[in-house]
Amino acid sequence: MSESAPVKDNYLNSPKGIWSWIYTLDHKRIGIMYLAAISVAFILGGIFALLLRLEHLNPGPLLFTAKQYNQLFTLHGAIMVFLFIVPSIPASLGNFILPMQLGAKDVAFPRLNLTSYYIYLIGAIFCIYSMIAGAADTGWTFYTPYSSTTDTSVISMTLGAFILGFSSILTGINFLVTIHKMRAPGMSWFKMPLFIWALYATAIIQVLATPVLAITLLLLVLERTMNIGIFNPALGGDPVLFEHFFWFYSHPAVYIMILPAMGVISELITAFCKRDIFGYKLVAYSSIAIAIIAFLVWGHHLFVSGQSDAANSIFSLLTFLVGIPSGIKVFNWIATMYKGTIDFKTPFLYALSFLALFCIGGFTGIMLGALSFDVFAHDTYFVVAHFHYVMMGGVVMAFLGGLHYWWPKMFGKMYSEFWGRIACALIFIGFNMVFFTQFILGSKGMPRRYFNYLDQYQPLHAFSTYGSWVLGLGLLLVLIYLIDSLVDGKPAPANPWGALTLEWQTDSPPITENFTHTPEVHHGPYAFDKVKPS
């Protein structure tokens, strides 16, 4: 902070004081508060992951007992899914960017937005309480009948997820209405940035799928407290019903996570190739297509749960269908790069990492959607590797890419490009060391969620653990240089990347109401051939 330059009023410094943050209705501040909260969750879940990998350095007990190991992977999964990935891009980056990309002053319901945030915090408190009061050991999927009988604190964890679900639903409703009602003059549906389309598709899933999770978890709580018997075979209930209910939400939830990530990638690729997106409408519609198909594939998690052959075949076929809109997006992104003026800045490196890792995650998803292969690979490390390629290789890469891309806008500071590139490379290499190895482990028969393993798997397990250190180091670097940039970073110009979407037309950091004049939109969000970026 140089003393000579006068500091302009912006959303960060006016109004001042801690209470102005606690009661804030500004979507940007709420986005920043989410960013802080999910970062804490990500660090916590990441530490659990490192500990889990460390335990597997050698066969036999090293740090934990078998039960502690079960609790740790449950906490890792539940925290990463419910506290980090689901809210990550929509609630932090989305909250900050969505109204600005629309040219609006705020989301449609600012008070509801703040309420969602505090509901999120209450949910987080329940999850943390579960952690200290005999952490749940069911896995993040809470399958019955084990979850209705284990003596660990399943109730507080499921209540936590239940409450977090409401936060997610309310955010979804808010974004849905914002996108419908708050677009700047001239911004028709097909002039919206693709990030908005992605958030729109996400909001649809949040509103339609999350309540089913809510009722499922509530039934599980009632099962444990009141013995209602719905999931208990001894009372005439059906534990497989839980799996159906759970995956009816949790498969679409995968798209709650990946769709916003795909939206970020569309922004990054156009901005750093300085080219209009190839096939705008197809990319936009494919988000909606994914949201629709998302509801029809949950049965692929039950291929070995006694589902009928007919149901299995149908679910398998429907699962393959997801490949089509996903493929459309990938090809269109690549086609966008063709003959573009590519600028290999850190966010773009993350976009490239996303493309590589998401393709591997997607293809192995198609493999697992095939019945014959799934029966072989079910509940092995192959599945673990697959969904980490999608969740971490896909969503987290896009999240980091988006975070770097919008960081100058959020805080008005530039991070170190040099360290950004190094960290991205470390993360990419470390990630593949951890999880590509797990594809091999899985194909050799290593079952997931096992505390111990046969000696023959030791070299691969150890390699995966070394990878986790590289990955951890990369992420630590990101944390360090981003925080450092807040203190020592160069001031960011309004539009450091030369992008065309509306958020770059206002100051970095923006003023409280985003724009001094409501912007008017005359062209598409990526019309680089028509407009010179200011």
Binding site: P211, I215, I228
Partner: protein
């Protein structure tokens, strides 16, 4: 009319909306999205109901005889009437009739309260005779799985009852604000939104009543 206008409070449109209509449209769309998620929330319970009814048809018929269709019917009348009075309340707000608005809201509140009282009597009889979920069940039944029916019964009507209670809270809040003259032809968004919510609560009961009380 002109003399009455003075008793109303002028509504301030939130800063990020263009005008009152814009604000109203946004609220209405949000409310519909919320109602859709409510339907899916209860949808899970209805799916569970149909699965178990298909699995144990005879048990469902036997178990439902322990419910009183007369009391259930009375409650149905209560809720349908309350939906009507709620609709009248919205209408009164739209034409700035403050006293009628308060009257209809109070009536709606009373019918809702009547519903909860009947529900209380019903629950007490079930608890007294032991028609309860699983380990608390000590009623007489020909089927082992009968507690499952009561597990579903208490979950479905319990969650619905919770929604009625929340609705009563909202209506009470509307009564207080109406009394201050906050709702009139230029601003009645909260009345309309609570009205929509209340109709949904009514609608869910319209499905619950035949499915639980009138089987066979």
């Amino acid at each position: 009319m002109t003399t009455k206008v003075t008793q109303f409070v002028k509504h301030q449109v939130a800063h990020h909306f263009d005008n009152a209509e814009h604000e109203f449209d946004a609220a209405k769309l949000g409310m519909w999205a919320f109602l859709i998620q409510e339907i899916l929330f209860f949808g899970g319970l209805f799916v569970a109901y149909f699965i178990f009814r298909a699995m144990y048809p005879a048990m469902f018929v036997e178990a439902h005889h322990h419910l009183s269709w007369q009391l259930g019917g009375l409650n149905t009348i209560f809720l349908i009437t309350s939906s009507f009075t709620m609709a009248m309340a919205v209408r009164s707000a739209q034409v700035s009739q403050k006293n009628k608005l308060i009257l209809f809201l109070v009536l709606t509140f009373l019918f809702a309260g009547g519903f909860m009282c009947v529900k209380y009597v019903e629950y007490m009889t079930k608890i007294h005779h032991g028609y309860l979920p699983a380990k608390w069940f000590f009623g007489t039944g020909t089927f082992d799985t009968e507690p499952l029916f009561f597990g579903l019964y208490f979950t479905m009507t319990g969650l619905h009852g919770l929604h009625v209670l929340i609705g009563m809270g909202l209506i009470a809040w509307l009564i207080i604000r109406s009394n201050r003259g906050e709702f009139h032809k230029d601003y009645y968004t909260p009345v309309e939104m609570v009205g929509l919510y209340w109709h949904l609560v009514d609608l869910i009961w319209i499905f619950l009543f035949p499915l639980l009380y009138l089987i066979g």
